[in-house]
Symmetry: C2
Subunit: 417 residues, 2 copies
Amino acid sequence: MTRSPSPADDDVRMRGFTHRSTVEDARAWVDQHSSCLPEMELSLSEAAGRVLGQEIISEVNVPDFARSMMDGYAVRAEDTSGASPYNPLALEIHGEILPGQAPTTPVHTGTTVRIMTGAPLPEGADAVIPAEKVQETERDDQIQVLADVSPGKHVGQPGEDISVGEVVLPARRRLRPQDIGVLSSIGIGRLPVISTPRVRIVVTGDELLPAGTRPRDYQITDANSPMLSAMIQRDGGEVIFEGIVADQPDAIENALKEPADVILVSGGSSVGLEDHAPRILAELGTLSIHGIAIRPSSPTGMGLIGETPVFLLPGNPVSCLCAYDFFAGRAIRRLAGLSSDFPYPRCRMPLSRKLVSAIGRVDYARVAIHEGQVEPLAISGASILSSTTRASGFVIIDQDSEGMPAGTEVEVFLYDI
Amino acid sequence: MTRSPSPADDDVRMRGFTHRSTVEDARAWVDQHSSCLPEMELSLSEAAGRVLGQEIISEVNVPDFARSMMDGYAVRAEDTSGASPYNPLALEIHGEILPGQAPTTPVHTGTTVRIMTGAPLPEGADAVIPAEKVQETERDDQIQVLADVSPGKHVGQPGEDISVGEVVLPARRRLRPQDIGVLSSIGIGRLPVISTPRVRIVVTGDELLPAGTRPRDYQITDANSPMLSAMIQRDGGEVIFEGIVADQPDAIENALKEPADVILVSGGSSVGLEDHAPRILAELGTLSIHGIAIRPSSPTGMGLIGETPVFLLPGNPVSCLCAYDFFAGRAIRRLAGLSSDFPYPRCRMPLSRKLVSAIGRVDYARVAIHEGQVEPLAISGASILSSTTRASGFVIIDQDSEGMPAGTEVEVFLYDI
């Protein structure tokens, strides 16, 4: 601040950065430096929502035996040929099979076995006749069959759900509840999933009070660490946060040397004298990108310490949120084996009024949805976090666009799932 | 099974139930018997994704003081009037203010104070002139102003993000990451959220092996309890599962008497002799609905024990999944304060081929999405859980519909978010 402004310096200060990378280039950098972490093993009950590390091939048939799909009688289908209420055919009952029990008595011509839903079909039988299609006789050990059945009728065949050798789920699948059910049905109790990225949050700023503290005495309360924590967890990461770091080069340097799969620095990311993080990152590793053509997150940086991606996020909370979702969250999602895309549902709706932007930068416009129309709320206002709680979602305005007139159908990313 | 089939009995057995409720009536019953649970208190770090119990009104301004939005100099705007590179105006530097510090020196006519981004504006100043718009002089304690600024320029006003008395978030809001940030910024460390519904899973079936066991000996492995557990957790509930319950009336009765906010019984929900749950529920409380006009979940029941909703879900896993999402999950979501709707994103796309249904029942059709078209996979096959892992999602065919021809645009509920 005490240096005299040279033309180049003036340019830095006026525009923030002498050169700003495009969003596309910054994302390409993210993709280059974030690939899926190795696998870990989890129990089935912990695996819902996790990403499968390897394809799962079944070693069993489901079911593994022919089973009855009805309460009724196991028969040889040919024995029922021509049966009707006017032509009942007698069969002798040779026992009963309950679900989970081994069938002991085979079915021969002229005989049948009582069978319950889910029970295995006995040897010799090839069909089940439902209870309501038979009539009992005066003898306990005999029924009259009142209808004919074809072979296989009311029988669940071995492997009809899943067969041995079948690929049940592909690698990189994010496990649905029913996937957990299918894995259970083939006897899998533990399985390989992609490891959880450990994400270190380094928040700097001497004006900051810890989350949960009422703001006072010309200080503001840290909104970024709790917000980032929630986003990291949503994106499959594990949060490491050890409290606000003093705006001192040594303190920031020490925090950046701690182990993590990804490091997020919030605050001090720009080009002012108090912005230590970019210089420290460049000293400890590389500062690959600093300054991105996106509003409101232009003072964003990224680089590597060893192989660990480090993201320098602006301290203004809207800038921080936007820079997280565009870049840091993308890296975390990729490390976790998830899709690189924004984790938000999308819809398309017309603009209620025009949305103005500037060529040369991407704009992150917070919008509300009212009566099927998209209403622009805010493009600027990097410090107004409440603009993102009032909004339904956001619209991204491409860097080649000057904006869109009212009525244009736009894609909205919805904050709520 | 040994009773002789009377016409009424035959009707029960052939169609499963003498009377089947409509999906609409069953959902109305669910809504009548599930309202939002009371509040509990959580810390901010636990609250992301939870549902807010009460509206939150701010007791503070954010920020609580006028602050600089730039690194520069705090000035009286009128002192810069007419300043330009050709008409520099001198101001005396009376100190410096850093973020988080109280301003000590006021600004008078002809003086200025160095100020950093985020620091409070000193008394007397009403604007900030950025560092690049001034030139230093040979004297350390003087600058030349090279541009004029209007009052308020580069100053963040008190309450510009949030003001005292403002409703920051409405009751019943599902908390977004940025909501957590906003709550932190107003000093909230603990907050009221809707309590977690405790959901008891009672799985019956003597043919079942515990989840994680390889199927053997004419038994199948329980797919429903792990699948239901994942869905319950997704829908904001806490799972209570104490192992598979024997197909014995006493064992089932005891399980139904245990405490819970919702009870899900899987298996034995139909009208066969081994289907004990409907009778036991009727004895312990009320069996309000039994049999619903929906495929593949027609043997679904629901009722109350005391005020606890009890859902009888079919044992076939696709039927179980569908009955959960239509009815039991709806109750859990409502108790948790969430939307009653399916927790799945939706899209609209044309059918690749016709989808056939029957008037008088709702159909839950598993579909795949290929090249922008919706391909029907399965409507029947209640036991084929793999049909729901191969599918992209499902289409609901209304009970008044016989199906839709190829090309019809249908709404798909997508299993993956």
